[in-house]
Amino acid sequence: MNYLELTLIIGGGSFVAGLLGALTGLGGGVVIVPLLTLALGVDLRYAIGASLIAVIATSSGAAAAYVKEGYSNIRIGMFLEIATTLGALGGAFLAGVLSTQVIAVIFGFVLIYSAYLSSKPKEDHSNDIQPDPLAVRLRMNSSYPTSEGMKQYTVHNVGTGFGLMGLAGVLSGLLGIGSGAVKVLAMDHAMRLPFKVSTTTSNFMIGVTAAASAGVYLNRGYIDPGLAMPVMLGVLAGSLFGARVLMAAQVKALRIVFGIVILVMGIEMIYNGLAGKI
């Protein structure tokens, strides 16, 4: 296989990943690494470097559309980015120390957890209990537009959310993914944000988190131009196209299919990691 063929195959695969990621809301980044390593035999470190680039591209591209709707909360995002960027630096450091087998096994478990989360319906938390006093001091409580006008929300468990975000950052830096699954856990379940606010704020943060580890990866020589270029352009085109057709698609069936694909990839990553084939 020469460069031209490989570029077209990777570009096509990344387009599909970006499309499914946008349609299902799971993000395309999570399947790029298994696609490159399991299907094309690319070294795990190159694959993670390319995936980080794709994650920054989709996050920044989509954030431009989201911010105008007024759902995202830049204060919550910026405060939690202290945790995610520090975690991402730690994760990028770990990626240089841990063996690729160990990274593959961790990756597999994160994939399986993402698949499990995608099978559960999204819950919207109401604000019936006292907000965290820290959230008041940090000016996090805000409002968002609903069909009945602006609705107030309060933020809970800031400390737990901050800790979980640190973990999301570590996984992002170690595995080259957006860690959407852990961010949902932190913002929906711990901080009890309305899910429109948490999804858009999380998307807003993903690019900054990925940039924190991408610098380290670039300096280590893990970002290869020939590989990252088709991944970035493919995922970007796929996710932009996905956002356009979102209204017409049968999202529920797609989520199930994509969830199963992620589950199978997770099991295969763990198997390959344990068998030393990665």
Partner: protein
């Protein structure tokens, strides 16, 4: 003292503060969009040149042997791109993409300064420091 200021600040009417937030978010949205478009265009052009000159060569990605040193640092990537090496141009596109969210964070400092929200100026400076530390390869 700091805390007193801060409390006064939060008693500002929500509408005026919301308006500023929204305006900031729209500028940030456009900044991100422009950054991504420029980065993707540069990477695409570099990719076309790369495939014209190396398209029929056989890549080896099965074994890891780190990128050559010019493609591993900000200065190296820029000089490779200026000498019009195709892989340097792609790498410049990727670097511009990495810089896009960093520019967003840097811009937020000015936005929080304008809102006199000193707490968040500090928060944002911390995040920016981590990002620049990473980009410099830990040599800050």
């Amino acid at each position: 003292m700091e805390e007193k200021n801060f409390r006064n600040k939060s008693s500002v009417s929500p509408e005026s503060s919301k308006w500023t937030d929204l305006r900031v978010e729209i500028i940030i949205g456009n900044l991100l969009r422009i950054g991504v478009i420029i980065a993707a265009t540069v990477a695409f052009l570099g990719g076309v040149f790369f495939l014209i000159s190396h398209g029929i060569e056989k890549p080896n990605y099965h074994f890891f042997n780190s990128e050559p040193s010019p493609l591993r640092s900000v200065g190296g990537v820029i000089s490779e791109a200026i000498s019009l090496h195709s892989s340097g141009i792609i790498q410049l596109g990727l670097l511009l993409l990495i810089l896009t969210p960093i520019a967003r964070v840097a811009f937020s400092i000015f936005a929080f300064l304008e809102e006199k929200d000193h707490l968040y100026v500090i928060v944002t400076l911390i995040v920016l420091t981590f990002l620049l530390f990473s980009l410099s390869g830990g040599k800050l």
